[in-house]
């Protein structure tokens, strides 16, 4: 099979650049995904034909308004909540920022204690850190070796002045899925509100905000084959929350800024498409993922990170001892494989991922992490290719490593 990468010329046209690689395998769907054809065709008219402002009185504006409201209804249906609770944002990061800052600001007179976990995405973790500087007291719950949060730990940490608990539905690095319904019940029993960052979960596992009983939930379109730059914060009716973005009073005064209609329409189309094939796609990806895991665990001194079964269908994450993650990625790139790592060297901070440290991996082992995340385009042949290439890459790097005595 001919494979290729794309390069852009000065006029931003893409041209195919052929490489001598047998295959191109995009295994970084937890980073971002290809826009689905359905989402793209749903969006296109909103860029060039129905470009009115939804806040405008005339019919041309109201046409855009109705597309936006249809999108809101479609998202609400996927999450099993009333559409009044759906607020469009610029993405998952904004949704997470808003949930934490907005609820804290609205409730700080009642209490200033916030609970989160040691494995949250930076969009939650750094916002919690910011709030700590604003006077909040933040408790970070630990996780077990598989990355699971214990409801008992939450019960023990919660206090009368706890105003918000924020726990992610599924982790972006190790794929571990949390028992959100149980955790939300613990928070509610103590009178605290519950937010979940469902950015990695939405479109991949059933996300029923009503059944989970969450007060707030974040998602991001580009993680499920929707466009970048658009997300959602679901806010249950009656939840106290202040805006973080002020302006023209769009989204019922809660999130100002002229609405990204094309983005919202694309998000709704992609989420609807994902929800429609969720069970079949989860089963297909789980089979591919487990074949990949079984195959790569044949590599000596390798281990799976995260939970063996309570994990995202498309996410396989590993550590390989005595090799370093960035080197692995560069070698894989040379084979036409796109993957990611939590290694220090891939970050500006030079610290390995907080998630890998939180599950108890020592620094030296956390440096050798690799995440392979599958998506709608991943095929069995892609898995064959990964299984064919990765063991050789690890062996080559180990041959060069002074730590490897194998």
């Amino acid at each position: 099979m001919k494979s290729y990468l794309f390069q852009t010329d000065r006029n931003h046209n893409f041209e195919r650049k052929d490489y001598c690689m047998p295959r191109f395998v995009y295994a970084d769907n937890a980073a971002t995904t290809r826009l689905s054809e359905k989402a793209l065709s749903a969006m296109l008219p909103h860029f060039k034909d129905v470009y009115g402002n939804p806040s405008s009185l005339y019919r041309f504006g109201q046409q855009a308004r109705s597309a936006l409201e249809e999108a809101r209804k479609a998202v609400a249906a996927c999450l099993n909540v009333p559409s009044e609770g759906i607020f469009f944002t610029s993405g998952g990061t904004e949704a997470d920022n808003w949930a934490l800052r907005g609820v804290y600001e609205a409730r700080k007179a009642r209490g200033t204690h916030i609970i989160t976990t040691a494995i949250e995405h930076h969009a939650v973790a750094h916002t919690a850190e910011y709030l700590r500087g604003q006077g909040a007291e933040v408790t970070c719950l630990p996780v077990d070796g598989t990355g699971r949060v214990s409801p008992d730990d939450l019960r023990a940490a919660i206090r009368p002045d706890t105003v918000l608990v924020s726990i992610m539905a599924a982790n972006n690095e190790i794929g571990t899925i949390q028992p959100i319904r149980e955790l939300a019940a613990v928070a509610h029993a103590a009178g605290a509100l519950f937010h979940t960052d469902a950015v990695q979960a939405a479109g991949h596992i059933p996300v029923d905000a009503a059944d989970w009983g969450v007060d707030l939930l974040s998602l991001s379109a580009h993680k499920f084959h929707g466009p970048r730059g658009v997300g959602v914060l679901y806010v249950k009716k009656g939840t106290p929350i202040l805006p973080v973005i002020y302006g023209g009073g769009q989204e019922k005064g809660k999130r100002s800024g002229t609405e990204n209609v094309a983005g919202a329409v694309g998000l709704a189309a992609a989420l609807t498409e994902a929800a429609g094939r969720l069970d079949a796609e989860a089963a297909r990806l789980t089979a591919l993922r487990d074949r990949l895991i079984r195959g790569l665990l044949q590599i000596p001194a390798s281990r799976l990170t995260g939970h063996p079964t309570e994990r995202l269908p498309g996410l396989a994450s590993f550590v390989f001892e005595c090799v370093e993650g960035e080197s692995i990625l560069l070698k894989l790139d040379g084979c036409g494989i796109c993957a990611s790592t939590g290694s220090a060297c891939s970050s500006a901070s030079l610290d390995p991922s907080h998630v890998l440290l939180a599950i108890g991996l020592p620094h030296e082992i956390a440096h050798g992490s690799v995440r392979l995340s599958l998506g709608a385009d991943t095929t069995g042949e892609d898995i064959d290719y990964l299984l064919q290439q990765i063991p050789g890459v690890i062996a080559d790097l180990r041959a060069m490593s002074p730590l490897w005595k194998g």
Binding site: E324, S327, L330, A344, C345, H363, P402
Partner: protein, 142 residues
């Protein structure tokens, strides 16, 4: 992110392995930080006749190791001692700022091997090579 030269030295590293009958061995870095470089050399008549490296680390760590071995091979000990981290980085057409420490490690690995060369002959390396980068192992006050 990396120059073509860095990628060339990462993809086709020069002088990988361990020199047999080495009379100069140095290792710097630590696994916790995610970089370890080990240099082995055969020095005859004050000339580095052979040098090889083994590195655990990122692309820049491998490339700087490879380039550093190329830059000291066939050189006298005095010439090798004059190798600086910036010369290694320059020879690779530059490194991203957060990766400059890799070139420092490469310079230290060469110096650590040369310090070992002097120690084996009963010569205190510190006045010649400078302070060992491994402060814990050195024990000197300064």
């Amino acid at each position: 992110m990396y120059s073509d030269k860095v990628m060339d030295h990462f993809s086709n590293p020069r002088n990988v392995g361990e020199v047999e009958h080495a009379n100069a061995v140095g290792q710097v870095g630590n696994p916790k930080c995610g970089d370890i470089m080990k240099m082995t050399m055969r020095i005859e008549n004050d000339v580095i006749v052979d040098v090889k490296f083994k590195t655990f680390g990122c692309g820049a760590a491998v490339a700087t190791s490879s380039m550093a071995t190329e830059m000291v091979k066939g050189k006298t000990v005095a010439e090798a001692l004059a190798l600086t981290n910036s010369a290694v980085a320059e020879a690779l057409d530059g490194l991203p700022p957060q990766k400059l420490h890799c070139s420092v490690l490469a310079e230290e690995a060469i110096k650590s091997a040369l310090a070992d060369y002097y120690s084996r002959q009963g010569i205190d390396p510190v006045p010649i090579v400078g302070c060992s980068p491994d402060c814990d192992a050195c024990g000197r006050e300064h």
